[in-house]
Subunit: 262 residues, 2 copies
């Protein structure tokens, strides 16, 4: 929403255009130079932070809604957004009045208030999507209701609104779990990379150091990357082999039932 | 729903008790003696089949709703139901009148009809849950609106209502994908099993034969099962080693970030 009038229109007529009881929240992980962060935003009127998120239009496919919401609120487009979980347990913790109060503090900037029986005051379940980007490549354009955006270290997430803490934790578990199933790092590394480069990426995402030789063995056994005959010349005594992702091999194995049973 | 009156109450007052626009659908995979099936049901008035499913109560945690719905419609309780995906793309394909007609054919048995502006005629997204059971151990008690239940071979799924075909396909992909990440077979095999037994289970679920020696090597490398010092005496020349699942090892690896990076 770009103006005060957008917010007023949303509060007055949103029920005609959006599905009630269901939102989308996006966990955007940002990686750069051995650091893993998450994109958070802080609405005007709140000290607590939130995930980027919004509502699904009445006739809009869910996956399109996720992309539209992220692009509208942050101007980030063309991400590989992956749905990972729908959250409907924590949403029973807030009652109608608490939910109303949170929204009214957000909307105060536009001088509009919602009532206790407004659809936004009701219980809302959330479909979680995540993505992984190089955070230096991302430019964010502020939304009217947002006071600030920040890339927060995943180890130091501040206090969050709603059940967003739980959503980030589950997203991080999913990211880590899928690291060996999908070429998740493919957009964060150069097309041809060295073993130390992918090792550093995996250590950062998994949040712990691990043995490089064992890592290489397992990565190659899975067929997710392949060693190239080329080497990179770093110095007289340092010319590590280059590797590349093998998404075709991965997708074939997945279609056949397992990355491991081939 | 057990009686005609239950259906009439649901149609008249359901909007007071249930969230609109969101249902739960359950894909119950049944395995026995090298056969993999899915539990389907056929409502009165329909030739097409459906998944067991229902709606979430207004203040009910989502995960509790999934168990309640399955127990209510089939009497199957205490399953390890796993949420796997929320479906919100296919639901844009049916319009309001088509949705109304499907429900009216189901409800005709109770002599009640819904209008075009009834909440059940509106677009409904679906949260998918799956489970894997030994289908011989399951007893199903028919719901008032259901004409018949069947365990259908996953390779021969009949024509289905709504987007249930898509839901089953995604559930099967997820089951296959998680076969090496979770001790999925633990409830389907005896506590101590032979390699041919777990090999047959995995071949059936993955829907294809694969090399037994390679399978054993990968399964042990993942730490999902461990070989026991005991052997089973089958005959003079046949005493295969016994294996058991090692869920503790799996869960520790998962918490540390990956089953493979340990």
């Amino acid at each position: 929403m770009n103006t005060s009038q957008d917010v007023v229109d949303f509060v007055r007529n949103g029920h005609l255009h959006y599905l009630p009881h269901l939102s989308i929240d996006c966990v955007i992980f940002g990686y750069h130079a051995n650091q893993l962060k998450t994109l958070l935003l802080r609405y005007h009127g709140h000290e607590q932070w939130s995930l980027p998120g919004g509502f699904v239009r009445r006739h809009e496919p869910l996956s399109e809604a996720a992309h539209r919401i992220l692009a509208t609120q942050t101007q980030i487009a063309d991400l590989f957004l992956q749905q990972f979980h729908t959250f409907g347990d924590g949403s029973t913790r807030l009652n109608r009045i608490e939910t109303q109060q949170i929204h009214n503090r957000i909307f105060a900037k536009a001088g509009v208030a919602i009532a206790e029986d407004h659809w936004l005051s009701e219980r809302t379940l959330s479909v979680g999507y995540y993505a992984l980007v190089d955070y230096l490549s991302v430019t964010i354009t502020p939304d009217f209701l947002v006071e600030e955006y920040a890339w927060c270290d995943v180890d130091a997430i501040p206090s969050l609104l709603f059940d967003h803490q739980e959503i980030i934790e589950k997203a991080l578990l999913t990211l880590r779990d899928q690291l060996y199933q999908q070429p998740i790092g493919a957009r964060l590394l150069p097309a041809k990379f060295t073993l130390p480069e992918i090792h550093a990426l995996y250590e950062t995402i998994l949040g712990k150091p691990f043995d490089r030789r064992n890592f290489r063995k397992k990565l190659l056994a899975l067929g997710l990357v392949r060693q190239l005959p080329e080497q990179r010349r770093i110095g007289a005594h340092r010319s590590p082999y280059l590797y590349e992702f093998d998404p075709e091999n991965y997708h074939r194995a997945l279609e056949e039932g397992s990355v491991l049973a081939g």
